[in-house]
């Protein structure tokens, strides 16, 4: 059963998909969090994922970034079937996630956070010292490549504003030759100006060729920055719309079920 109906999505032959998820299922005990999710992410586009609370968005995302292992269905990355047992494996394969909690360590500096878990070292044999200078200057490049407005890469993350922290977390996800960046409500906690900056950042990443999966509750934002939208309802993916061909009302209808997919 495929529920991609009412689809204005180009067929697989017409379009270059980075990620193809087919029939993904995941339950926790008797709770079927994701019953049947089939989505595709076109390369170099911002694709949004919408759905009410409990529709299964977060579980689907966690399956894609290696936190959960799906019970069934397939995930293909660049045409190769993949299966992740840990977030590290997903990252190594090129799927980076910007979690809602940002996964930043407040007491570490910006550059330390950018390199957390991937520190550069130099030395001989077992004696490996951090290449602090190298990491600082590379962090500076990562930050200025995205035109992120942070005081300095040596400042502690604690001192940054909400938008700056979001930007640092996005820079970390984007800065490692990743293929897909998944963002979970990146502007939920931000003010108007900071939201605009983060949206600019997301557009900039898209223009540089990155594929982005954006979870958002903000339909106006989706209309502003996404190219396409997948809707989920009650654990199922219920449809895809091109942003250019849809309206906020239609998206609301898809999410609530007013429009049968």
């Amino acid at each position: 059963m495929t529920t991609i109906t009412g689809s204005r999505l180009p067929t697989a032959k017409e379009q270059d998909d980075v990620l193809v998820v087919d029939g993904l299922r995941k339950s926790f005990g008797s709770v079927h969090a994701v019953k049947e999710a089939s989505i595709r992410l076109p390369r170099g586009k911002v694709t949004a994922l919408i759905g009410d609370n409990g529709a299964g968005k977060s579980t689907l995302i966690r399956c894609l970034c290696g936190v959960h292992k799906p019970d069934g269905g397939t995930v293909e990355l660049d045409g190769q079937p993949v299966s992740f047992h840990s977030p590290t494996q997903a990252r190594d394969a090129g799927i980076e996630t910007v979690h809602q909690n940002l996964a930043l360590v407040d007491d570490l500096t910006v550059w330390q956070n950018l390199f957390l878990g991937r520190e550069k070292t130099r030395g001989f044999g077992p004696v490996q010292l951090l290449d602090r200078r190298g990491m600082r200057s590379q962090a500076k490049e990562m930050v200025s490549a995205l035109a992120i407005n942070v005081p300095s890469v040596t400042s502690r993350v604690r001192r940054l504003s909400g938008g700056q922290r979001q930007a640092v977390s996005i820079a970390r996800a984007a800065g490692w030759g990743s293929k897909i960046v998944i963002m979970d409500e990146p502007t939920a906690a931000l003010g108007v100006q900071e939201t605009a900056r983060v949206e600019d950042l997301i557009r900039g990443l898209r223009d540089s060729g990155m594929t982005i999966l954006l979870i958002s509750h903000n339909f106006d934002q989706i209309m502003r920055i996404a190219d396409g939208v997948w809707a989920m309802r009650a654990g199922k993916s219920v449809g895809y719309r091109n942003v250019a061909d849809t309206t906020g009302q239609e998206l609301v209808g898809l999410v609530t079920g007013a429009i049968p997919a």
Binding site: R91, V105, L108, L116, N149
Partner: protein
């Protein structure tokens, strides 16, 4: 939107603004003590007395460094002093059985390291609260020390051990030098290695560390292992200083190791730590006790004074944020 990524190294103004003022409390207090005691008693600043203070602080410095590693990950090692006692007793027993001092030292350090390994395995893999686990090993290690030593002190008469505490370079005895090397190495590990960043990350935010691929379990195990190893080194210094391996409880060493960490401005919630801070904290505690003794204050007042200083320091860190 402008990209403001300034120079590689922060400017002086930034560094001052970012200066961890609570971490400067211990050096300031130490300076104050030196001035006050120096003025009150002319013998306080003699080389002989400075030598005595350094000598008295060497063991505490090593234990405070051990405690710092654990506290940096938001844990605590209550067993650090008992582990030292067990290490000392094992050293004494192996030496008295006729083995060379080298083997005895190795056995003592190995025994202490084993306690650290047990702590780490139970805390990190078992996921049991550090406070309970190390409280348990505190008791178990002291008990084991009492059993092994049959409750009696074991004299360790060895030229090597005598030299360790009695001779050295100028006023710096070998045991002080050992403590200094431990402190410098610990500083390098904490700030210049992957393990150091990871343990601060685990202490700062376990979730963030986990989702960025830091291996939390391994990091947690390492800090308890380091703590055990350093407790073993402290055991060697202790035996050298006392001239015997005693199955004494050494509770004041435990309390003072935590006190030195707090005085040093290290956050007990983890994520923020220095090595120099706790080292200065240890020197401060040793100077305080030394100065009070010189001034003829009864020994009974010393724990009271230490307690007041520690609570004051803790009070100061309230203004950290």
């Amino acid at each position: 939107m402008t990209a403001v990524a300034t120079a590689d190294r922060p400017r002086l103004g930034e560094r001052l603004a970012a200066a961890p003022w609570p971490e400067l409390a211990a050096p300031a207090a130490l300076l104050l003590l030196v001035v006050v005691f120096g003025a009150a008693d002319s013998t306080f600043l003699t080389t002989g007395n400075i030598e005595a203070i350094l000598q008295a602080s060497a063991i505490l410095v090593v234990l405070a460094v051990a405690q710092t590693f654990v506290v940096a990950t938001a844990g605590i090692d209550l067993s650090v002093a008992s582990t030292m006692t067990l290490g000392a007793v094992v050293l004494g027993q192996v030496y008295s059985s006729g083995a060379g001092i080298g083997w005895a030292i190795l056995a003592g350090v190995a025994a202490a390291t084993a306690v650290g390994l047990v702590n780490g395995a139970i805390v990190a893999k078992g996921g049991i609260t550090d406070f309970i686990v190390t409280l348990g090993t505190l008791s178990a290690a002291s008990g084991l020390a009492l059993i092994l030593a049959d409750g009696k002190p074991q004299p360790v008469l060895s030229k090597f051990m005598l030299d360790l505490s009695a001779s050295g370079i100028g006023i710096i005895s070998w045991s002080v030098l050992v403590a200094a090397v431990v402190a410098v190495t610990a500083h390098v590990v904490l700030f210049r290695t992957r393990l150091g960043v990871h343990l601060l990350a685990v202490g700062g935010s376990t979730d963030a560390a986990r989702s960025t691929g830091v291996r939390n379990v391994r990091v947690k195990m390492s800090v308890y292992l380091i703590s055990g190893l350093l407790a073993g080194l402290a055991a060697v210094l202790l035996v050298a200083r006392v001239g015997a391996a005693e199955p004494a409880s050494n509770t004041s060493f435990l309390l003072n190791s935590v006190a030195a960490v707090v005085l040093g401005g290290v956050s007990l919630f983890g994520g923020r730590a220095t090595i120099i801070g706790p080292v200065v904290g240890a020197l401060l505690l040793a100077s305080l006790v030394n100065g009070l003794t010189l001034l003829g204050v009864s020994q009974f007042y010393q724990p009271l004074a230490v307690g007041i200083v520690v609570v004051l320091a803790a009070f100061l860190t309230r203004f950290q944020k």
